[in-house]
């Protein structure tokens, strides 16, 4: 589809908006509908659109598979890390209240970090799944 100017230009306009919307869904998830999983999928959708229009090779050079692998692990480490931090603060696993002096701020920070972890892992996994199906090579 590389030779289709309409698609290329529309994609170039839309992709930043998709990514921005993903960030909105991610960080506004505390107050409105949304959260890490949805944001991760929307974020990955931006990259997948890029891969569809400009080819998987271009996508592969934009986000190399070994970087994706690191992000997959990083999200889960962030999630579990929050839990371990609360453990180290002598509270139960994922008891966010311990994260701050003020329990409400603690809950806010806890859910923020956990959702960020979910978003990172889901986004990276979605792109990896796309690359795995679209390209014959090992992702």
């Amino acid at each position: 589809m590389n030779d289709n100017p309409v698609l290329r230009i529309v994609a170039k306009i839309i992709i930043p908006m998709i990514l921005l919307f993903a960030l909105y869904v991610q960080f506004h998830g505390d107050y409105g509908p949304g959260g890490g999983f949805q944001a991760g999928v929307i974020f990955a959708a931006g990259f997948i659109l890029y891969g569809l229009v400009f080819g998987t090779e271009a996508l592969r050079s934009a986000v190399p598979p070994h970087i994706l692998r690191i992000f997959i692990a990083l999200g889960l480490v962030l999630y579990a890390g929050v839990g371990v931090t609360t453990l180290l603060m002598e509270a139960d696993f994922l008891a966010y209240n311990a994260l701050s002096q003020d329990p409400v701020a603690g809950q806010h920070l806890g859910i923020f970090l956990v959702e960020l972890g979910v978003g990172i892992t889901v986004g990276a996994v979605m792109i990896t799944v796309f690359l795995g199906f679209a390209g014959r090579n090992d992702p």
């Binding site: 889960l76 002598e90 509270a91 139960d92 966010y96």
Partner: protein, 491 residues
């Protein structure tokens, strides 16, 4: 402080180690991390078991949300016992895995292999520890998805179709379990098992409760590989990497049997599950058929790994027979056999792993004279086989003895006949291998040496455990009896 957090750490440590494995990615580093994590998990489950024996049930809540609202872990003796089996087997087999995996899986996939291993361990430990029905489903999916990956990594092309077959069957099973849990949730408005157990009796006589129970039983039956639903198991075990066959054969189906016990005895209560619903008779028939038919099919297998897989299906039959007797004695036999079968199948699959590493095959024809060429490995296989048949002085004898006693107590003579017939069939299929290895003549000129010590020592630990728990039964029978009383009393 650390003692009170043990239930969380039991699951969280392998859960964190898994992404770290993916970050490390080097074969040796990831293997080391897997062994250390498994050993830590074993230590924690040992501490938990000691604590439960000492003080009784442990309760743990996540995120400071009290029990029926948040996710709670509730560890009684049965949980602690299953945790101990899973983490011990994972430790022993992961030590074994390094050389075996290095020869069977390409270097650039080994990081993913150990990641999947740790995720599978996380899932199995999570199923065994949680007190929340939906949490149980999530862990079941974690362990299942990672075991599909592990099986697909076998160096035989057929391992891909085997993994795909397991994926389809396993997903159907998991979906049934989810539908069952969903129906219970619709009926009672709770997912906490303790809460469910309190609320189900009031609403037990509804179609929703019966349908939920049926969905759960069939779904768990698929995961257990209960006789007519066992078709995924032989190929999955036969074509998986050797270490994975040993790990899954010794843990995965055991944990699924635990789930069945938990739902029958703790959630629904034995009166509803085994009496109101005609499950006891059904389980007795399916268990007996599993013992007879799977053992008979095992006799005709040319691939020894496949033979052992069919033998696993038969052994699951014994476990189910113990449940169907609906007595503390029968339940003791089942719980005891969970442990003993893990020991014998672990030892046998590790011996096969050594043989596969040396001669690159598990076909019966290649076993000719192997008793002289790999005496130590075949020694493990011999002990494992004796235990499988149920020769006195081995662990297998103890569990069959208790099963026979339980059957006699109920006066179920046909069950006795089934157990004896199953043992005789086991003699036949095991004897084919022993005969070929020891009496097939040692005319083969190719002198094949032994497997390395890092594989032999774990295999021998399991073999010696078979002998130890065949003679000194205080620990295994003691815990099993108490666990059975806990479950039976709860219903």
């Amino acid at each position: 402080m650390i003692i009170t957090q043990l239930p969380a750490l039991q699951v969280v440590i392998p859960l964190i180690a898994a992404p770290l494995c993916l970050l490390l990615y080097r074969p040796l580093a990831t293997w080391l991390l897997t062994v250390v994590t498994s050993a830590t998990a074993m230590l924690i489950s040992g501490l938990i078991l000691a604590q439960v024996l000492d003080q009784g049930v442990i309760d743990y809540t996540f995120g400071g949300w009290a029990a029926p609202f948040g996710i709670a872990y509730r560890i009684d003796l049965v949980n602690a016992y299953v945790l101990m089996i899973v983490s011990t087997i994972s430790t022993i087999v992961s030590v074994f895995a390094r050389v075996s995996v290095a020869s069977e899986i390409e270097a650039h996939n080994q990081g993913i292999f150990y990641t999947a291993w740790l995720l599978c361990l996380t899932g199995l430990l999570g199923i065994a520890i949680t007190g929340d029905a939906f949490n149980l489903f999530v862990f079941l999916e974690i362990s299942s998805l990672s075991s599909y990956v592990l099986i697909a990594m076998g160096n035989d092309r057929r391992s891909l179709t085997a993994a795909f077959q397991y994926l389809i069957m396993g997903t159907i099973g998991a979906t049934f379990i989810l539908i069952g849990i969903g129906l219970l949730y619709a009926l009672t408005g709770t997912l906490n098992m303790l809460d469910l157990a309190e609320r189900i009796p009031e609403v037990a006589n509804t179609r929703t409760a019966r349908a939920g129970f049926a969905f759960l039983t069939v779904g768990i039956g698929l995961k257990i590989a209960l006789f007519p639903l066992h078709l995924w198991l032989p190929n999955a075990y036969a074509y998986a990497p050797s270490a994975v066959s040993a790990f899954l054969a010794a843990t995965a189906t055991k944990v699924a049997v635990y789930v069945l016990l938990r739902f029958i005895f703790s959630v629904f209560g034995k009166d509803f599950a085994l009496d109101t619903m005609p499950l006891a008779l059904g389980l007795a028939i399916l268990g007996s058929s599993a013992v007879i038919f799977a053992s008979a099919i095992a006799i005709f297998q040319d691939n020894i790994k496949r033979m052992l897989a069919y033998s696993s299906v038969a052994q699951i039959g014994y476990l189910i027979l113990g449940v169907s007797l609906v007595s503390p004695a029968g339940l003791t036999a089942t719980i005891l056999h969970l442990f003993n079968h893990a020991l014998m199948k672990g030892a046998l699959f590790l011996a096969l792993g050594c043989i596969a590493w040396r001669i690159g095959s598990s076909r019966l024809g290649d076993f000719k004279g192997l008793g002289y060429r790999m005496p130590w490995t075949m020694g493990v296989f011999l002990i494992g086989s004796l235990s499988l048949v149920g020769i006195p002085m081995t662990a297998g004898f103890i569990s069959k003895w208790y099963l026979v006693l339980a059957a006699l107590e109920r006066g179920w003579w046909p069950v006795l006949v089934v157990i004896l017939a199953g043992s005789l069939l086991a003699v036949i299929y095991v004897w084919r291998v022993i005969e070929s290895a020891y009496l097939g003549g040692k005319d083969n000129e190719a002198q094949v040496g032994e497997a390395p010590l890092s594989m032999l020592i774990p295999a021998w630990i399991l073999a010696l455990a078979n002998l130890y728990f065949g003679v000194s039964t205080d620990l295994s029978v003691g815990v099993a009896t108490e666990a059975a009383t806990t479950l039976f009393g709860a219903g």
